[in-house]
Symmetry: D3
Subunit: 265 residues, 6 copies
Amino acid sequence: MMKRLLITGAGGNLGRQMRARLGDLAEIVRLADRGNMEPAGENEEVVTCDLGDAEAVSKMVEGCDAIVHFGGQPVEAPWSVVKNANIDGMYNLYEACRIHGCNRVVFASSNHAVGFFRQDEVIDNTIYPKPDGLYGVSKVFGEMIASMYFHKFGIETASVRIGSCFPEPSNHRALSTWLSFDDLERLIRRCLDVPKLGCPVIYGNSANTANFWDNSKVAWLGWKPQDNAEDYRAEVDAAREKPAADAPDVVYQGGGFTADGIHQE
Amino acid sequence: MMKRLLITGAGGNLGRQMRARLGDLAEIVRLADRGNMEPAGENEEVVTCDLGDAEAVSKMVEGCDAIVHFGGQPVEAPWSVVKNANIDGMYNLYEACRIHGCNRVVFASSNHAVGFFRQDEVIDNTIYPKPDGLYGVSKVFGEMIASMYFHKFGIETASVRIGSCFPEPSNHRALSTWLSFDDLERLIRRCLDVPKLGCPVIYGNSANTANFWDNSKVAWLGWKPQDNAEDYRAEVDAAREKPAADAPDVVYQGGGFTADGIHQE
Amino acid sequence: MMKRLLITGAGGNLGRQMRARLGDLAEIVRLADRGNMEPAGENEEVVTCDLGDAEAVSKMVEGCDAIVHFGGQPVEAPWSVVKNANIDGMYNLYEACRIHGCNRVVFASSNHAVGFFRQDEVIDNTIYPKPDGLYGVSKVFGEMIASMYFHKFGIETASVRIGSCFPEPSNHRALSTWLSFDDLERLIRRCLDVPKLGCPVIYGNSANTANFWDNSKVAWLGWKPQDNAEDYRAEVDAAREKPAADAPDVVYQGGGFTADGIHQE
Amino acid sequence: MMKRLLITGAGGNLGRQMRARLGDLAEIVRLADRGNMEPAGENEEVVTCDLGDAEAVSKMVEGCDAIVHFGGQPVEAPWSVVKNANIDGMYNLYEACRIHGCNRVVFASSNHAVGFFRQDEVIDNTIYPKPDGLYGVSKVFGEMIASMYFHKFGIETASVRIGSCFPEPSNHRALSTWLSFDDLERLIRRCLDVPKLGCPVIYGNSANTANFWDNSKVAWLGWKPQDNAEDYRAEVDAAREKPAADAPDVVYQGGGFTADGIHQE
Amino acid sequence: MMKRLLITGAGGNLGRQMRARLGDLAEIVRLADRGNMEPAGENEEVVTCDLGDAEAVSKMVEGCDAIVHFGGQPVEAPWSVVKNANIDGMYNLYEACRIHGCNRVVFASSNHAVGFFRQDEVIDNTIYPKPDGLYGVSKVFGEMIASMYFHKFGIETASVRIGSCFPEPSNHRALSTWLSFDDLERLIRRCLDVPKLGCPVIYGNSANTANFWDNSKVAWLGWKPQDNAEDYRAEVDAAREKPAADAPDVVYQGGGFTADGIHQE
Amino acid sequence: MMKRLLITGAGGNLGRQMRARLGDLAEIVRLADRGNMEPAGENEEVVTCDLGDAEAVSKMVEGCDAIVHFGGQPVEAPWSVVKNANIDGMYNLYEACRIHGCNRVVFASSNHAVGFFRQDEVIDNTIYPKPDGLYGVSKVFGEMIASMYFHKFGIETASVRIGSCFPEPSNHRALSTWLSFDDLERLIRRCLDVPKLGCPVIYGNSANTANFWDNSKVAWLGWKPQDNAEDYRAEVDAAREKPAADAPDVVYQGGGFTADGIHQE
C-alpha cells in the first residue's frame, strides 16, 4: 500500500467517481482541483491548485507516491485556457514529479489525440497521432512530456486515451467509445499495481462490440475491460435519431470535435 | 511564381543559407527574425517579429502565399523560452495562416522529435514520436498543430525533421544525420512546387550511406537527396576521436540532447 | 425503417433463410430470383429476374433502398453461366443502383475469392485475393465492381466472403468456415443499420475455435458472431472419416474447389 | 531461344514498339491484333484475332511458347467493349494456354487496377486493388484469371500494372507513372528469361524520382528500370500548366480515369 | 486411433501429468525417460533411454506413430548436459523419426527461446528468437531441427514454447506465463488430431488476462485455452512480495534465467 | 587501431582472401585454422586450433580484441563434423570471448540458415529462420549463441549470412547471392569500426540487381555494397545451361542444399 496517492481534477466527472472508489489504494488520498470539491473525508486531503501555477503544483505533488491525473481542461477551449491547464500544467506536473521523486502517473489523455482517424479504421497505440483541435493537440503534448520524462528520468506514465466515460453510452458514437466507470477503475488499479509500468499508451474504452481501438499491444498489462456498450444499443436507438452518414459523429473517431473551429478568447 | 514567400528565422543558420538561394521563388521574399538580419536586398522585405507575439505574427504572415518556417528556438532551452517561440509561436503562426489564407508551410521540425530512438533502429515517418527534451517535445507539438490545421482547415505543411544541417558533417553522428544545404534547398523547392502537398513528415538528411531514417513513404514527393556524408568520413575520423560505445552520440538518434537535463530559467 | 428492401437469390439456400428473418427491416421486402420462390406473403413482393438481363435488373432494383444480394451462380460452373449471373449480373446490378439511387448493398461474396490460401495461414481483409476457380474469380470481380461504384458514386457495399452457411457444419473444413444462419442474420442487420458502411470486405464465419480468417480490421462495424462450429466437432468426427493430410479440403481454404478443373459448357 | 513468341495487340502503341525490339527472342514471332498491323517481316507471322472469339484465340495461341499480351481494350469504354476484349478475352486466352500448353505470359495489366489510391500513398504489390472504372475492374479480373490459372495449372504470368508508357512523360502525373520503352523491353526480357516466374504483380514505371509504387517485393526478379521521368520535368512544366491541387490528375494514382462516369453504349 | 504414441520425459513433471491423461490416444503408449518412471500400466510400455544415445533413441522411436517430446534437460545446466540431452538428443530423435517413418511430434520448446524479449512487448510466432541461456539456445536449436526435418522430409512438429506449466501460477511472472495442465492436454490433443499440422510454433500459456504472447497466427489450429492465471492473482499477491521494477522476473519474458551466468561443469 | 585481430578459418577460401586485405586493422593479426596455412608474415601470428577443443580455443582467443570468425565446417557434413566445428566450436569461442574479454565478432553465418525460403520471397533480417540442412541449423545455432552472449554479457556480433562469396558468380543462383570479396572486406571493416555494433544479422551479398535479401533494417550500419552480379549474367548464361524451373537452385534461396539428404558418418 502506498503512502499518498494524488488525484487531480478531483472535482470533475471522473475525479469524483474515482475518489469514491480508490480510497483503499493509499494511506492518504490527496485530492486536488482548481475549483470546488467535497470536503476531505477520512484518509483524505484536499488541495486547491491551478495547474498553470508551477509553485502550487510542486506543493501539490510533494510527498505523493503516484498520481491519477484527471486535472486540466477537459474539452475544446480558447488557446490560453488549454495552454495554461494542459501545456503549462503538464510541464509543471512532471517537473514536480522529477524534483519530488514521484515516479508513477496515470494520465487522462483523450481520444481527441487521434480524433481525425476515421471510425472505419482500427488503430493501435503505435500510430502517429491526428489530433482534432487545440484540446487534442494539448493531449498529444501531454503524452510527449510523459514519454520524455520516462526516457530521461524513468518516471512511468500510462497515457489513457479515454473515450466516453459516463454512466452509460449516450449517443451512437459512444457505442464504440464508451468506457464504464468500473472498467476505468480496474484500469487505474492495474496501472498502479504493476511492478513495471513503462510508458504505454492505452485506449480507454470498454469491451464494446463495436470498436475501432486495438489494445492488443498492451495485453501484457493485464487489463481486460468487462463492460460492453452494446448492451445499451436499443436504448440509444430509441432515444436518439440515427446520425447522418456524413455527420462528424459517424465519420471521425473524435466525433463533433473535428467539426469545431478554433475557440476564440 | 508566387507573389510573396515568407522565410522566418531568416537571421539564423538555415535562414541565411536559404535566403541566398530561394529568391527566385517569389516576386517578393519577406524575411523575418527576432534578431539581426542583413538589410533587405532587391525583391526582399525584412520584418522583425517575436513569434510569441500573436499580433506581430499575424502581420508577418499577412499577404504571404507560403512560409518556410525556420523561426523558433533551435536547441534545448528553459521552458519559458521554448514555450514562447515553439509553442505559442506555432499556434500564432497557424492562426495567422488560417485567418490570412496562407495555405502552405515548410516547417523545420527536428530529429529531436524522435531523439530517443536508438541509432540501430531504422524508423519511418509513421512511428509514434520519442522526443528527447523540451525542445523535441515542442517540435512534436508543432507537427501536431500542423496536422490539426491540415485536417480542419486544409493548410498544408511539410514537417521536415532536420538532422544536422551544416556545411559539412562535423562529428560521427552527423555521418548519419547530415543534411547538405543543397539537399535542403531541393527539398524546399519540391515542397513548394508540388500541386498537392498534404501534411507529410519528412526526415531531413542527405543520401548518407549510414542512415537510420526511412523516407520511402514520401517517395511520391519526388525528392531524392544527392549528397552523402560518407564522403567526409575520413575527415571526421581524423578530426575527432571515435566516440565510446555508450556515448549518447552513438546510442541515440538525438545524440547528446538525450543526456541533457531540464534547462532551468 | 426503410421502405423497400430487395433480397435477390430469394429462392436459394440463404435467400429462403433470410426471407424468413428480415421481414421487419422494411415496409416491403421485394424478393427476386431466376427460378421458383414461395408466393409473396404479407409485405412481400416477388419478382422473377435473370441477372444477365440488364433491363430486368433495372426494374428489379427500382424503388429499393437497399439490397441483400444472394443472387447469382453459387458454385463453380461453365464460363457462360458464371459470366451471365456473376459478371454481367454484377454490372447490371450496380448500374441499376447508380441509376435508381440505391446506395447500400450486402453482397454475398465467397471464401472462394481467396480459396488458394492455405488453411494454416490466417488472412485478414487486406490481402490480395487468390481465387480458386471461375466462380471465385467472378466473386473478386463482384468485389471490384462494388469497390469502384463506391469510390466513384458512393454506393456502399459490404462484401461478405461467406464460408459454409448451413444449419450445421457438415465436414471437417466447415469446422473453420461455418457461418450460422443466426450470425449471418446479425451481420446483415448490422450492415444495413450502421449509418456509414463504406465498402468493407468481411469474412463470413461464426466465432469458430478453429479459424483462419481475421476480421479484426472490421471490428468497428460492431458485428460479433456468437456461434461456434467447435460445438459440432464430435458429430463431424463421428459422421465423417478424417480427411487425408493432402486432401484439398485440408490444405486450402477453398477446399475441394481448388482441385476442380475448368467446367466446360 | 524459344520457338514461337506471341505478341498480342501488335498493332497498338506498345505492340508496335515491342515488335520492333523483341524479334531476337524466338525463331518466329507471331503478331496478333484485331485491326491493322504492318505485314509480316522476316521470322514473323501475322494473325488477325478478336479476343472475344474463343476459337480464334485458341488458334492464335496454338504453337506458342510464351505470350506478351498487350491485346484488349486499352482505355475506359462501354461495358460490352470492355467485356468482350478484357473479360471474355482473358478467359479465352488462358483456356487456350491451358489447352495448348503455353505456360508463360506477360500480361499488360494497368495502374487503373489501383487508380483510386491517392498519389501520396506508396503502395506495393500486396495491396487489395481499388480499380477506377470498368477498364480498371477488367484489369483486376485479368490478374485474377492469371492467378487462378497459375495456382490450378501452373501457367506463369507477370501482371505488369503499366503506368504511362510513351516516348516521354507528357503531363505532371506521368512524372511519377512514366515507363520508358527501354525499361518495358528490359522488363519483358527478364520475365521471359527467368527460369521460374511464378505469378507476380509488378508496377510498370521507370526509376522516376517521384514515385508512388514500390516494387521491392519483386526485387528477386532482377529488373531495375534505368530511365527517370524527372529528366523531363522542366519540359513538362514548360508545356503544361501546373494542375490544381484537387485535380484528379494530382489526387489519385489513376488520374482522370477516376473522374469518368460509366461509358454508355 | 493411432497404434503407438511415445511420450518422452515421462518421468518428469509434464510427462507424469500427460501420461495420466493421454492414454486413450493410442492402443499402446510408450513411456520413455532417462530415469525413474512408474511401472507400465495397461496399454503402456516403459523404456529407459538416454537421448544422447543415438541407438537407444532409434529403438525408442521405432514403431511409434507420434511423439510427445517432453524429454531433455528442462532448465539451465552446464554445456555438456544441455548438449547431450537437447542438441544430440534432438538430432537423434529426428533421425530416428526419419528412418522409422514417425511423422508427427509435439515438441516441448520453451519460453526461454525468447527469454530476452521484454515483458512489455507482445510477440507472435514470427519473431526472430532471443534465447536467454544455453538451455534457451538449445530449444531454438530443437525448433530449427524440427523446421529442417519438416521442409526436407515432411515430418510435422508443433513446437510449443511452454511458459510455466504447474498446478497453479506460483509467482507474479507466472500470472502471464502460466499454462494449466488442462490447457496443455487440450493443445496436445489438437496437435495430434489435426489432419495437417505443418510445423507451427505455438506459445504455451493459458488464456491469462496478463499476456505477452500472441497466438493469433495459429488460430487455424483450433486450440483455445480455457484457464486464466488471473484467478490466482490474489493468492500470488498474498503469498509473494511484489517484485521490484528492475527484477529480471519483471523485466524479461524469460524471468530469472536472463540473469543467470553460464553454468560450469 | 586495435592490438590483435583474430581471423579464424584463415586457411580457407574467405580466410585467405581477408588475410591478404585486413592486415592494417591491427598491430598483430592472429591467423587460426585447423589445417594448413601460409607461414606467418610480418605482424602475423599463426595458430593451429580445432574449434571443438575448448582449451585450444581459449588460448586462440586470449589477447584478441576482435574476431573475424570464418572457422568451422563450411558446407553440409555428417552430424559429428558439424557438431564439433559449428556447435561445440561456437560455444567454445564465445566462452573464450567471455572469459578473455573479447567483445566484438564478425561471424560468418550463412544463407543456409534461411535456405528454405523461396527465391521469389524477399526476406529481411527479422524473419524466423528456415535452415536447409544440418549445416544451416548449426549456423542458426551460432547466431543464437551470439544473440545470447550479447544480451547476457554485451559481446557484440555481426552475424553475416554470406551468400556466394567467390571471385565471380558462377551459376544462375549466384546472380542473386554473390558477394564480392571487395564488398565483404568493406562490410568487415564497417563492423569492426562502428563504435556500437550490437548484434545485427546482415545478409551478405553484393548490390545485385536480382536480389531476395533486404538489408534495409541495417542501413544504420553504413555498409553499401558496390559490386553487382548482373555484370556477369552474360558470362553465366554462356557458361551454364539455364536451370529447370523446378530445380532447387531456382526454387529455394539455399539452392541445392535443400535437396540434400542427411550426410551419414
